[in-house]
Symmetry: D2
Protein backbone atom coordinates (compact mmCIF):
# COMPACT_ATOMS: atom_id res chain seq x y z
CA UNK A 1 0.00 0.00 0.00
CA UNK A 2 1.87 3.06 -1.27
CA UNK A 3 0.90 6.68 -0.72
CA UNK A 4 2.30 9.02 -3.37
CA UNK A 5 2.86 12.76 -3.18
CA UNK A 6 4.98 15.43 -4.79
CA UNK A 7 7.63 17.36 -2.82
CA UNK A 8 6.59 20.99 -2.38
CA UNK A 9 8.83 24.06 -2.44
CA UNK A 10 7.75 25.09 1.07
CA UNK A 11 8.98 21.73 2.39
CA UNK A 12 12.58 22.36 1.32
CA UNK A 13 15.11 24.32 3.37
CA UNK A 14 18.25 26.24 2.48
CA UNK A 15 20.22 22.96 2.35
CA UNK A 16 18.21 22.39 -0.86
CA UNK A 17 16.45 19.25 0.36
CA UNK A 18 13.31 18.55 2.40
CA UNK A 19 13.58 19.69 6.03
CA UNK A 20 13.78 16.65 8.29
CA UNK A 21 10.68 17.64 10.32
CA UNK A 22 8.46 17.29 7.26
CA UNK A 23 8.91 13.54 6.94
CA UNK A 24 7.07 13.21 10.27
CA UNK A 25 4.15 15.02 8.60
CA UNK A 26 4.38 12.75 5.56
CA UNK A 27 4.15 9.77 7.91
CA UNK A 28 0.83 11.20 9.10
CA UNK A 29 -0.40 11.63 5.53
CA UNK A 30 0.65 8.08 4.66
CA UNK A 31 -0.88 6.62 7.85
CA UNK A 32 -4.23 8.36 7.23
CA UNK A 33 -4.26 7.19 3.62
CA UNK A 34 -3.34 3.64 4.60
CA UNK A 35 -6.02 3.47 7.30
CA UNK A 36 -8.73 4.93 5.05
CA UNK A 37 -7.89 2.42 2.32
CA UNK A 38 -7.99 -0.44 4.81
CA UNK A 39 -11.40 0.24 6.28
CA UNK A 40 -10.50 2.51 9.23
CA UNK A 41 -11.07 6.17 8.34
CA UNK A 42 -9.31 8.13 11.10
CA UNK A 43 -11.82 10.95 10.84
CA UNK A 44 -14.57 8.44 11.61
CA UNK A 45 -12.55 7.03 14.51
CA UNK A 46 -12.58 10.49 16.12
CA UNK A 47 -16.10 11.51 15.13
CA UNK A 48 -18.05 8.27 15.49
CA UNK A 49 -16.03 6.15 17.92
CA UNK A 50 -15.00 9.14 20.06
CA UNK A 51 -11.44 7.85 20.11
CA UNK A 52 -8.24 9.79 19.39
CA UNK A 53 -4.89 8.20 18.59
CA UNK A 54 -2.23 10.60 19.88
CA UNK A 55 1.37 9.93 18.91
CA UNK A 56 3.44 8.86 21.93
CA UNK A 57 6.72 8.27 20.08
CA UNK A 58 8.30 8.73 16.67
CA UNK A 59 11.66 7.80 15.25
CA UNK A 60 13.11 8.49 11.85
CA UNK A 61 16.33 7.65 10.01
CA UNK A 62 17.38 9.82 7.09
CA UNK A 63 19.44 8.13 4.37
CA UNK A 64 19.02 10.53 1.46
CA UNK A 65 17.18 13.83 1.13
CA UNK A 66 14.08 14.16 -1.02
CA UNK A 67 14.35 17.04 -3.49
CA UNK A 68 11.90 19.58 -4.80
CA UNK A 69 9.33 18.39 -7.31
CA UNK A 70 10.10 14.67 -7.12
CA UNK A 71 7.34 12.17 -6.46
CA UNK A 72 7.86 10.11 -3.33
CA UNK A 73 6.07 6.88 -2.38
CA UNK A 74 5.46 6.00 1.25
CA UNK A 75 4.84 2.44 2.36
CA UNK A 76 2.97 1.97 5.64
CA UNK A 77 2.68 -1.17 7.75
CA UNK A 78 1.34 -2.00 11.19
CA UNK A 79 3.99 -3.83 13.22
CA UNK A 80 2.27 -3.98 16.63
CA UNK A 81 -1.28 -3.71 17.99
CA UNK A 82 -2.80 -4.89 21.22
CA UNK A 83 -5.75 -2.54 21.74
CA UNK A 84 -3.69 -0.25 23.97
CA UNK A 85 -0.78 0.58 21.69
CA UNK A 86 -0.40 0.68 17.90
CA UNK A 87 2.85 0.96 15.94
CA UNK A 88 3.14 1.98 12.29
CA UNK A 89 6.32 1.58 10.22
CA UNK A 90 7.03 3.81 7.22
CA UNK A 91 9.41 3.67 4.28
CA UNK A 92 9.80 6.68 1.97
CA UNK A 93 11.10 5.95 -1.56
CA UNK A 94 11.86 8.22 -4.50
CA UNK A 95 10.72 7.37 -8.03
CA UNK A 96 13.81 5.25 -8.61
CA UNK A 97 12.84 3.07 -5.62
CA UNK A 98 15.74 4.34 -3.53
CA UNK A 99 14.90 4.25 0.18
CA UNK A 100 15.20 7.85 1.43
CA UNK A 101 13.84 7.63 4.96
CA UNK A 102 12.36 5.05 7.28
CA UNK A 103 10.70 5.48 10.63
CA UNK A 104 7.85 4.59 12.92
CA UNK A 105 5.14 6.17 15.03
CA UNK A 106 3.62 4.72 18.19
CA UNK A 107 0.09 5.62 19.20
CA UNK A 108 -2.12 5.12 22.22
CA UNK A 109 -5.92 5.37 22.39
CA UNK A 110 -7.79 8.00 24.41
CA UNK A 111 -11.34 9.32 24.61
CA UNK A 112 -12.20 12.93 23.81
CA UNK A 113 -11.12 13.90 27.38
CA UNK A 114 -7.69 12.32 26.78
CA UNK A 115 -8.48 9.43 29.16
CA UNK A 116 -6.80 6.19 27.99
CA UNK A 117 -9.16 3.51 26.71
CA UNK A 118 -8.74 -0.24 26.14
CA UNK A 119 -10.22 -0.68 22.69
CA UNK A 120 -10.99 -4.38 23.13
CA UNK A 121 -13.42 -3.44 25.90
CA UNK A 122 -14.64 0.03 24.92
CA UNK A 123 -14.67 -0.24 21.10
CA UNK A 124 -14.61 -3.92 20.09
CA UNK A 125 -15.55 -3.18 16.49
CA UNK A 126 -12.73 -0.68 16.07
CA UNK A 127 -10.42 -3.17 17.81
CA UNK A 128 -11.30 -5.84 15.24
CA UNK A 129 -10.76 -3.59 12.28
CA UNK A 130 -7.39 -2.37 13.53
CA UNK A 131 -6.41 -5.95 14.34
CA UNK A 132 -6.96 -6.86 10.71
CA UNK A 133 -4.28 -4.34 9.73
CA UNK A 134 -1.82 -6.19 11.92
CA UNK A 135 -2.81 -9.61 10.63
CA UNK A 136 -2.38 -8.46 7.06
CA UNK A 137 1.10 -6.99 7.46
CA UNK A 138 2.98 -8.33 10.47
CA UNK B 1 6.12 47.95 20.26
CA UNK B 2 8.58 45.57 18.57
CA UNK B 3 8.51 41.79 18.71
CA UNK B 4 11.91 40.22 18.10
CA UNK B 5 12.73 36.70 16.95
CA UNK B 6 15.50 34.80 15.23
CA UNK B 7 15.03 33.24 11.78
CA UNK B 8 15.05 29.44 12.04
CA UNK B 9 16.53 26.95 9.56
CA UNK B 10 13.16 25.23 9.08
CA UNK B 11 11.68 28.54 7.93
CA UNK B 12 14.02 28.86 4.96
CA UNK B 13 13.43 27.22 1.58
CA UNK B 14 15.75 26.16 -1.25
CA UNK B 15 15.83 29.76 -2.51
CA UNK B 16 17.95 30.36 0.62
CA UNK B 17 15.56 32.83 2.25
CA UNK B 18 12.47 32.54 4.46
CA UNK B 19 9.50 30.96 2.66
CA UNK B 20 6.84 33.61 2.08
CA UNK B 21 4.14 31.70 3.99
CA UNK B 22 6.09 32.00 7.22
CA UNK B 23 5.74 35.77 7.50
CA UNK B 24 1.99 35.20 7.96
CA UNK B 25 2.90 33.08 11.00
CA UNK B 26 5.27 35.76 12.26
CA UNK B 27 2.40 38.25 12.02
CA UNK B 28 0.49 35.97 14.40
CA UNK B 29 3.42 35.81 16.82
CA UNK B 30 3.80 39.59 16.71
CA UNK B 31 0.06 40.20 17.13
CA UNK B 32 -0.15 37.88 20.15
CA UNK B 33 2.88 39.53 21.72
CA UNK B 34 1.54 43.02 21.04
CA UNK B 35 -1.88 42.21 22.49
CA UNK B 36 -0.44 40.55 25.61
CA UNK B 37 1.80 43.55 26.25
CA UNK B 38 -1.14 45.92 25.81
CA UNK B 39 -3.53 44.32 28.25
CA UNK B 40 -5.40 41.89 25.98
CA UNK B 41 -3.99 38.36 26.32
CA UNK B 42 -5.48 36.45 23.37
CA UNK B 43 -5.51 33.21 25.34
CA UNK B 44 -7.72 34.94 27.94
CA UNK B 45 -9.95 36.31 25.19
CA UNK B 46 -10.70 32.75 24.10
CA UNK B 47 -10.77 31.14 27.54
CA UNK B 48 -12.49 33.79 29.65
CA UNK B 49 -14.45 35.91 27.22
CA UNK B 50 -15.42 32.93 25.02
CA UNK B 51 -14.52 34.93 21.95
CA UNK B 52 -12.34 33.87 19.02
CA UNK B 53 -10.80 36.25 16.47
CA UNK B 54 -10.54 34.31 13.20
CA UNK B 55 -8.57 35.88 10.38
CA UNK B 56 -10.84 36.91 7.50
CA UNK B 57 -8.16 38.47 5.31
CA UNK B 58 -4.39 38.86 5.08
CA UNK B 59 -2.15 40.67 2.69
CA UNK B 60 1.61 40.83 2.54
CA UNK B 61 4.20 42.61 0.40
CA UNK B 62 7.72 41.17 0.23
CA UNK B 63 10.52 43.65 -0.36
CA UNK B 64 13.56 41.65 0.77
CA UNK B 65 13.94 38.10 2.07
CA UNK B 66 14.92 37.44 5.66
CA UNK B 67 17.88 35.09 5.93
CA UNK B 68 18.78 32.29 8.30
CA UNK B 69 19.93 33.26 11.78
CA UNK B 70 19.24 37.00 11.54
CA UNK B 71 17.15 38.71 14.18
CA UNK B 72 14.02 40.35 12.83
CA UNK B 73 11.85 42.94 14.58
CA UNK B 74 8.14 43.14 13.90
CA UNK B 75 6.13 46.27 14.58
CA UNK B 76 2.39 45.85 15.12
CA UNK B 77 -0.30 48.51 15.05
CA UNK B 78 -4.09 48.51 15.10
CA UNK B 79 -5.42 50.55 12.19
CA UNK B 80 -9.15 49.83 12.47
CA UNK B 81 -11.56 48.62 15.17
CA UNK B 82 -15.31 48.94 15.50
CA UNK B 83 -16.28 45.97 17.66
CA UNK B 84 -17.11 43.87 14.59
CA UNK B 85 -13.86 44.05 12.68
CA UNK B 86 -10.25 44.58 13.76
CA UNK B 87 -7.28 45.30 11.49
CA UNK B 88 -3.62 44.90 12.44
CA UNK B 89 -0.73 46.27 10.38
CA UNK B 90 2.74 44.72 10.53
CA UNK B 91 6.20 45.79 9.48
CA UNK B 92 9.11 43.32 9.56
CA UNK B 93 12.62 44.81 9.81
CA UNK B 94 16.05 43.21 9.89
CA UNK B 95 18.72 44.29 12.38
CA UNK B 96 19.85 47.11 10.09
CA UNK B 97 16.31 48.57 10.18
CA UNK B 98 15.67 47.65 6.54
CA UNK B 99 11.98 47.02 5.93
CA UNK B 100 11.71 43.44 4.66
CA UNK B 101 7.97 42.83 4.61
CA UNK B 102 4.79 44.68 5.46
CA UNK B 103 1.26 43.41 5.65
CA UNK B 104 -2.00 43.31 7.53
CA UNK B 105 -4.53 40.89 8.97
CA UNK B 106 -8.25 41.50 9.37
CA UNK B 107 -10.21 39.72 12.09
CA UNK B 108 -13.84 39.28 13.03
CA UNK B 109 -15.24 38.20 16.40
CA UNK B 110 -17.16 34.96 16.95
CA UNK B 111 -18.29 32.90 19.93
CA UNK B 112 -17.07 29.33 20.48
CA UNK B 113 -19.75 28.12 18.02
CA UNK B 114 -18.35 30.45 15.32
CA UNK B 115 -21.43 32.74 15.57
CA UNK B 116 -20.47 36.40 14.95
CA UNK B 117 -20.69 38.68 18.00
CA UNK B 118 -20.84 42.46 18.37
CA UNK B 119 -18.29 43.06 21.10
CA UNK B 120 -19.73 46.40 22.18
CA UNK B 121 -22.89 44.57 23.23
CA UNK B 122 -21.69 41.09 24.20
CA UNK B 123 -18.26 41.90 25.70
CA UNK B 124 -18.12 45.61 26.59
CA UNK B 125 -14.98 45.22 28.70
CA UNK B 126 -13.08 43.49 25.91
CA UNK B 127 -14.42 46.12 23.51
CA UNK B 128 -12.95 48.89 25.67
CA UNK B 129 -9.57 47.27 25.99
CA UNK B 130 -9.30 46.63 22.24
CA UNK B 131 -10.48 50.17 21.56
CA UNK B 132 -7.53 51.47 23.58
CA UNK B 133 -5.17 49.78 21.13
CA UNK B 134 -6.72 51.76 18.31
CA UNK B 135 -6.60 55.04 20.20
CA UNK B 136 -2.97 54.54 21.00
CA UNK B 137 -1.79 53.80 17.47
CA UNK B 138 -4.17 55.06 14.79
CA UNK C 1 -7.88 23.50 -14.12
CA UNK C 2 -8.50 22.23 -10.59
CA UNK C 3 -5.89 20.94 -8.17
CA UNK C 4 -7.30 18.58 -5.56
CA UNK C 5 -5.88 17.64 -2.18
CA UNK C 6 -7.04 16.32 1.18
CA UNK C 7 -6.84 18.45 4.35
CA UNK C 8 -4.23 17.03 6.73
CA UNK C 9 -4.40 16.89 10.53
CA UNK C 10 -1.17 18.90 10.88
CA UNK C 11 -2.77 21.73 8.91
CA UNK C 12 -5.56 22.28 11.45
CA UNK C 13 -5.21 24.40 14.58
CA UNK C 14 -6.98 24.41 17.93
CA UNK C 15 -9.89 26.35 16.40
CA UNK C 16 -10.64 23.03 14.65
CA UNK C 17 -10.14 24.35 11.11
CA UNK C 18 -7.15 24.84 8.81
CA UNK C 19 -4.73 27.52 10.03
CA UNK C 20 -4.94 30.56 7.76
CA UNK C 21 -1.22 30.45 6.86
CA UNK C 22 -1.61 27.07 5.18
CA UNK C 23 -3.80 28.35 2.36
CA UNK C 24 -0.79 30.35 1.16
CA UNK C 25 1.05 27.03 0.88
CA UNK C 26 -1.88 25.46 -0.95
CA UNK C 27 -1.72 28.35 -3.43
CA UNK C 28 1.87 27.30 -4.13
CA UNK C 29 0.85 23.67 -4.62
CA UNK C 30 -1.97 24.72 -6.96
CA UNK C 31 0.24 27.15 -8.92
CA UNK C 32 2.94 24.51 -9.44
CA UNK C 33 0.37 21.96 -10.55
CA UNK C 34 -1.31 24.45 -12.89
CA UNK C 35 1.99 25.51 -14.47
CA UNK C 36 3.20 21.92 -14.94
CA UNK C 37 -0.08 20.98 -16.60
CA UNK C 38 0.14 24.00 -18.89
CA UNK C 39 3.61 23.43 -20.24
CA UNK C 40 5.73 25.42 -17.76
CA UNK C 41 7.25 23.11 -15.13
CA UNK C 42 8.53 25.45 -12.41
CA UNK C 43 11.37 23.09 -11.56
CA UNK C 44 12.55 23.39 -15.18
CA UNK C 45 12.21 27.17 -15.04
CA UNK C 46 14.72 27.23 -12.18
CA UNK C 47 17.02 24.47 -13.41
CA UNK C 48 17.09 25.05 -17.17
CA UNK C 49 16.14 28.70 -17.64
CA UNK C 50 18.03 29.84 -14.49
CA UNK C 51 15.04 31.96 -13.50
CA UNK C 52 13.32 32.10 -10.11
CA UNK C 53 9.86 33.55 -9.51
CA UNK C 54 9.88 34.93 -5.95
CA UNK C 55 6.57 36.01 -4.47
CA UNK C 56 6.43 39.80 -4.04
CA UNK C 57 2.86 39.98 -2.70
CA UNK C 58 0.03 37.74 -1.55
CA UNK C 59 -3.48 38.44 -0.42
CA UNK C 60 -6.12 36.06 0.85
CA UNK C 61 -9.74 36.33 1.94
CA UNK C 62 -11.16 33.64 4.20
CA UNK C 63 -14.90 32.97 3.89
CA UNK C 64 -15.21 29.54 5.51
CA UNK C 65 -12.67 27.26 7.15
CA UNK C 66 -11.65 23.99 5.53
CA UNK C 67 -11.95 21.06 7.94
CA UNK C 68 -9.86 17.97 8.55
CA UNK C 69 -10.11 15.19 6.00
CA UNK C 70 -12.22 17.01 3.41
CA UNK C 71 -11.09 17.20 -0.19
CA UNK C 72 -10.57 20.73 -1.46
CA UNK C 73 -10.26 21.86 -5.08
CA UNK C 74 -8.16 24.85 -6.01
CA UNK C 75 -8.71 26.77 -9.24
CA UNK C 76 -5.75 28.77 -10.57
CA UNK C 77 -5.78 31.49 -13.21
CA UNK C 78 -3.25 33.99 -14.53
CA UNK C 79 -4.71 37.49 -14.43
CA UNK C 80 -1.65 39.54 -15.40
CA UNK C 81 1.66 38.98 -17.17
CA UNK C 82 4.03 41.34 -18.90
CA UNK C 83 7.40 39.58 -18.65
CA UNK C 84 8.32 41.51 -15.51
CA UNK C 85 5.39 40.68 -13.24
CA UNK C 86 3.01 37.70 -13.09
CA UNK C 87 -0.21 37.48 -11.06
CA UNK C 88 -2.05 34.26 -10.20
CA UNK C 89 -5.58 34.16 -8.78
CA UNK C 90 -6.77 31.23 -6.66
CA UNK C 91 -10.15 29.95 -5.52
CA UNK C 92 -10.39 27.16 -2.93
CA UNK C 93 -13.63 25.14 -2.91
CA UNK C 94 -14.81 22.26 -0.74
CA UNK C 95 -16.46 19.17 -2.21
CA UNK C 96 -19.87 20.88 -2.19
CA UNK C 97 -18.47 23.64 -4.42
CA UNK C 98 -18.66 26.21 -1.62
CA UNK C 99 -16.00 28.89 -2.04
CA UNK C 100 -13.84 28.76 1.11
CA UNK C 101 -10.97 31.08 0.28
CA UNK C 102 -9.82 33.24 -2.58
CA UNK C 103 -6.57 35.07 -3.05
CA UNK C 104 -3.71 35.95 -5.32
CA UNK C 105 0.07 35.89 -5.53
CA UNK C 106 2.26 38.32 -7.46
CA UNK C 107 5.67 37.22 -8.72
CA UNK C 108 8.68 38.86 -10.29
CA UNK C 109 11.47 37.20 -12.26
CA UNK C 110 15.10 37.06 -11.10
CA UNK C 111 18.22 35.15 -12.08
CA UNK C 112 19.98 32.81 -9.65
CA UNK C 113 21.74 35.86 -8.10
CA UNK C 114 18.36 37.50 -7.42
CA UNK C 115 18.95 40.11 -10.14
CA UNK C 116 15.67 41.07 -11.87
CA UNK C 117 15.32 39.93 -15.47
CA UNK C 118 13.01 41.00 -18.32
CA UNK C 119 11.83 37.67 -19.68
CA UNK C 120 10.93 39.01 -23.11
CA UNK C 121 14.60 39.84 -23.66
CA UNK C 122 16.45 37.25 -21.56
CA UNK C 123 14.15 34.21 -21.94
CA UNK C 124 11.86 34.74 -24.96
CA UNK C 125 10.73 31.10 -25.03
CA UNK C 126 9.71 31.14 -21.37
CA UNK C 127 8.02 34.49 -22.00
CA UNK C 128 5.93 32.97 -24.80
CA UNK C 129 4.88 29.96 -22.76
CA UNK C 130 3.86 32.08 -19.78
CA UNK C 131 2.05 34.48 -22.09
CA UNK C 132 -0.09 31.57 -23.29
CA UNK C 133 -1.34 31.08 -19.73
CA UNK C 134 -2.60 34.64 -19.72
CA UNK C 135 -4.24 34.35 -23.11
CA UNK C 136 -6.04 31.20 -22.07
CA UNK C 137 -7.51 32.56 -18.85
CA UNK C 138 -7.67 36.36 -18.76
CA UNK D 1 21.35 25.63 29.33
CA UNK D 2 17.63 26.22 28.76
CA UNK D 3 16.05 27.67 25.64
CA UNK D 4 12.66 29.26 26.29
CA UNK D 5 9.85 29.97 23.85
CA UNK D 6 6.11 30.48 23.84
CA UNK D 7 3.74 28.02 22.15
CA UNK D 8 2.15 29.60 19.07
CA UNK D 9 -1.41 29.13 17.80
CA UNK D 10 -0.19 27.86 14.43
CA UNK D 11 1.68 25.05 16.22
CA UNK D 12 -1.49 23.56 17.73
CA UNK D 13 -3.78 21.13 15.92
CA UNK D 14 -7.45 20.24 16.26
CA UNK D 15 -6.62 17.98 19.23
CA UNK D 16 -6.00 21.28 21.06
CA UNK D 17 -2.31 20.62 21.75
CA UNK D 18 0.94 21.12 19.82
CA UNK D 19 1.22 18.88 16.75
CA UNK D 20 3.89 16.25 17.36
CA UNK D 21 5.96 17.28 14.31
CA UNK D 22 6.63 20.69 15.80
CA UNK D 23 8.76 19.41 18.69
CA UNK D 24 11.30 18.28 16.08
CA UNK D 25 11.47 21.93 14.99
CA UNK D 26 11.80 23.08 18.60
CA UNK D 27 14.75 20.69 18.97
CA UNK D 28 16.38 22.58 16.10
CA UNK D 29 15.70 25.94 17.75
CA UNK D 30 17.09 24.67 21.05
CA UNK D 31 20.17 23.10 19.42
CA UNK D 32 20.99 26.30 17.52
CA UNK D 33 20.58 28.37 20.68
CA UNK D 34 22.68 25.95 22.72
CA UNK D 35 25.48 25.88 20.16
CA UNK D 36 25.54 29.67 19.75
CA UNK D 37 25.74 30.12 23.51
CA UNK D 38 28.56 27.59 23.74
CA UNK D 39 30.86 29.09 21.16
CA UNK D 40 29.73 27.25 18.00
CA UNK D 41 27.37 29.41 15.94
CA UNK D 42 25.84 27.02 13.41
CA UNK D 43 25.52 29.79 10.84
CA UNK D 44 29.27 30.29 11.08
CA UNK D 45 29.86 26.56 10.80
CA UNK D 46 28.11 26.61 7.40
CA UNK D 47 29.44 29.95 6.19
CA UNK D 48 33.01 29.96 7.46
CA UNK D 49 33.89 26.30 7.97
CA UNK D 50 31.95 25.14 4.88
CA UNK D 51 30.46 22.32 6.92
CA UNK D 52 26.81 21.30 7.19
CA UNK D 53 25.38 19.08 9.90
CA UNK D 54 22.44 17.22 8.35
CA UNK D 55 20.18 15.23 10.66
CA UNK D 56 20.55 11.49 10.06
CA UNK D 57 18.14 10.35 12.80
CA UNK D 58 15.64 11.73 15.29
CA UNK D 59 13.55 10.14 17.97
CA UNK D 60 10.98 11.67 20.26
CA UNK D 61 8.79 10.47 23.12
CA UNK D 62 5.65 12.45 23.95
CA UNK D 63 4.51 12.34 27.58
CA UNK D 64 2.18 15.36 27.76
CA UNK D 65 1.08 17.85 25.13
CA UNK D 66 2.20 21.48 25.28
CA UNK D 67 -0.74 23.87 25.08
CA UNK D 68 -1.24 27.22 23.39
CA UNK D 69 0.41 30.23 25.00
CA UNK D 70 2.43 28.38 27.62
CA UNK D 71 6.15 28.97 27.93
CA UNK D 72 8.25 25.87 27.42
CA UNK D 73 11.90 25.37 28.34
CA UNK D 74 14.12 23.08 26.34
CA UNK D 75 17.30 21.59 27.75
CA UNK D 76 19.97 20.50 25.30
CA UNK D 77 22.95 18.25 25.91
CA UNK D 78 25.57 16.57 23.74
CA UNK D 79 25.73 12.87 24.52
CA UNK D 80 28.10 11.67 21.80
CA UNK D 81 30.74 13.22 19.52
CA UNK D 82 33.66 11.68 17.65
CA UNK D 83 34.20 14.08 14.73
CA UNK D 84 32.05 11.94 12.43
CA UNK D 85 28.79 11.80 14.36
CA UNK D 86 27.20 14.12 16.92
CA UNK D 87 24.19 13.34 19.13
CA UNK D 88 22.08 15.93 20.96
CA UNK D 89 19.55 15.06 23.67
CA UNK D 90 16.57 17.32 24.39
CA UNK D 91 14.09 17.66 27.23
CA UNK D 92 11.04 19.92 26.88
CA UNK D 93 9.48 21.18 30.13
CA UNK D 94 6.46 23.37 30.80
CA UNK D 95 6.60 26.23 33.32
CA UNK D 96 5.76 23.84 36.19
CA UNK D 97 8.88 21.80 35.33
CA UNK D 98 6.81 18.88 34.08
CA UNK D 99 8.68 16.92 31.42
CA UNK D 100 6.51 17.04 28.29
CA UNK D 101 8.75 15.52 25.64
CA UNK D 102 12.24 14.11 25.33
CA UNK D 103 14.17 13.12 22.28
CA UNK D 104 17.42 13.21 20.39
CA UNK D 105 18.88 14.11 17.02
CA UNK D 106 21.93 12.54 15.38
CA UNK D 107 24.01 14.52 12.91
CA UNK D 108 26.83 13.80 10.50
CA UNK D 109 29.23 16.30 8.94
CA UNK D 110 29.40 17.05 5.22
CA UNK D 111 30.94 19.71 3.01
CA UNK D 112 28.82 21.99 0.82
CA UNK D 113 28.66 19.22 -1.81
CA UNK D 114 27.24 16.80 0.78
CA UNK D 115 30.49 14.80 0.88
CA UNK D 116 31.16 13.41 4.40
CA UNK D 117 34.09 14.97 6.24
CA UNK D 118 36.13 13.87 9.28
CA UNK D 119 36.24 17.03 11.34
CA UNK D 120 39.36 16.07 13.28
CA UNK D 121 41.29 16.14 10.02
CA UNK D 122 39.45 18.72 7.90
CA UNK D 123 38.35 21.21 10.59
CA UNK D 124 40.42 20.66 13.74
CA UNK D 125 39.31 23.95 15.32
CA UNK D 126 35.62 23.12 14.88
CA UNK D 127 36.37 19.63 16.18
CA UNK D 128 37.87 21.07 19.35
CA UNK D 129 34.99 23.44 19.99
CA UNK D 130 32.37 20.73 19.47
CA UNK D 131 34.39 18.37 21.66
CA UNK D 132 34.14 20.89 24.49
CA UNK D 133 30.34 20.56 24.37
CA UNK D 134 30.69 16.86 24.98
CA UNK D 135 33.18 17.28 27.80
CA UNK D 136 30.93 19.75 29.53
CA UNK D 137 27.79 17.64 29.45
CA UNK D 138 28.46 13.93 29.00
Amino acid sequence: MFYKRTVQYYETDKMGVVHHSNYIRWFEEARTYYMKNNGVDYNTVEKECGVMMPVIAVDCRYKQGAVYNEEVSIETEVSFFNGIKLVFNYKVYNSEKTLLVDGSSTHCFVDMSFKPVRLKKTNPDLYSRLNLLLKEDA
